[in-house]
Symmetry: C2
Subunit: 266 residues, 2 copies
């Protein structure tokens, strides 16, 4: 995948055998997002789909409210920068914010988003429901798409889906970045994220819940585990968390009434 991976020389050891080979590793860059020419954040990320990453990040942090707030966006992987033009009122918090470096893997802590509580009511009323069969089928599609992972073993994937299939898909060394990329892709196209299913290969921690609340996705499906704080937040925010979704198996941690299954809702 262009710009997402790189070939390196390795020694592959299997028991007593050692051979010199080529291996593919995922790329990692420090990319700075400039909001109206103001450096806003530096993220360790996979330098691909930088426009979506920037739009999704600013949206997840509550700095922009919808795709229309992005008048122009231009990413340059060689310059390690993305420039976002937004209406004048939209500025990084604290005016000239010091350049915050947030890391790979996850990065994205800033979460100037202390204030997700006002979204809760809306989510709780969102009556979106689905079934365990549909989730199993979406996970199958999700796994199939995870191309860079299969090559490098080093990335996270994220997707936005409805009951009929995956609508946006992305990969990144950071699980937060991958989610920002799919959200950004949708809003840059002027499409809704509200009511969709958010899929992630990664662990579901509290900050993932904040992203889902911002995007108004009532269901999060993960191959991996949630933390206790994520479960607590999900309960409060009215978001359904499905973990360990592998094949036809899955654990439903919160708001199980949205998932039709043998047991029905609860």
């Amino acid at each position: 995948m262009k710009r997402a991976t790189r070939s390196v020389d390795i020694v592959r050891i299997k028991g007593v055998a050692a051979t010199k080979e080529k291996d593919t590793v995922v790329r990692e860059s420090s990319v700075t997002i400039f909001l109206n020419d103001e450096p806003t954040v530096t993220l360790q990320c996979t330098p691909k789909d930088l426009e979506s990453l920037a739009a999704g990040f600013l949206f997840s942090e509550g700095l922009i409210k919808h795709g229309k707030d992005v008048r122009r966006v231009y990413g340059d992987a060689r310059d390690c920068a993305v420039w976002v033009d937004a209406p004048d009122g939209i500025v990084p918090p604290n005016g000239n914010l010091t350049r915050r470096t947030v890391t790979s893997g996850c990065g994205k802590g800033l979460t100037f988003a202390g204030s997700v509580k006002h979204i809760m009511g809306a989510q709780r009323r969102a009556g979106k429901s689905t079934s365990s069969d549909i989730i199993a089928s979406l996970m199958k599609e999700f796994q199939k798409k995870s191309q860079t992972y299969r090559t490098t073993g080093g990335v996270h994937s994220a997707a936005l889906a409805d009951d009929h299939g995956i609508l946006a898909f992305s990969e990144d060394i950071g699980r937060h970045n991958a989610i920002d990329k799919v959200v950004g892709e949708r809003i840059l196209k002027g499409k809704e994220t509200r009511g969709l299913i958010l899929m992630t290969s990664g662990r579901v921690s509290s900050d993932i819940l904040v992203k889902a609340a911002r995007a108004r996705t009532p269901i999060i499906v993960s191959r991996s585990a949630p933390t206790d704080l994520a479960v607590k937040l999900a309960r409060e925010l009215g978001i359904t968390v499905v973990g360990f979704a592998r094949g036809s198996r899955m654990n439903v941690y919160t708001h199980g009434w949205r998932i039709e299954s043998g047991l029905g809702g609860r």
Copy 2:
């Protein structure tokens, strides 16, 4: 494991069967490190071994140079805080730093550590070497110790080891936190980290290399993949990176001369 996990009610779905069960999830808290009463960083972490976490974090960020700089450290998981008393000259960068929130999963980006280059020379000369057999045996011990992972599937592990076995072991929702905890444990005991093998369950990104350089661990062993930037940094810093260490298999990405195997060094 005390304070590291919590039990929650879930619906477990397997095909058409759905049952109400208990599941164990890993705990996640926002913990603030106070350095000489100054709030320095807020980390999303597993609220266990907070003293080691604080000492290791401050050391990894270059704010303290050795264990002796920690005159007193006191962590309180209920207050979500760790207080570190250090000599007067030691203050958070920029005097009164605004409270930075760094996230789970990885968090720990700050890396006020732009300046690891001076360490490079030392690492390059560090002649520590080991063998693929020893690494395989250390990984076996590492997997055995990963207790919370087996329960929750939601944590990362880290260890410091020599050729004879694991000397410090820790788990956390964040792979950076887990590494800081083992480094912190060693320095609080007045022990060296220099020359040891750093083991991690997580991906090896550039910031992990910075931590290894600070701790002067010449070898990093991971169950998972490195990024291209981590490989580049490792090459420059003189650090050996072993990835995908599973059973008797492993990939050696850099400075293979430290790993005796069928092929010998290179």
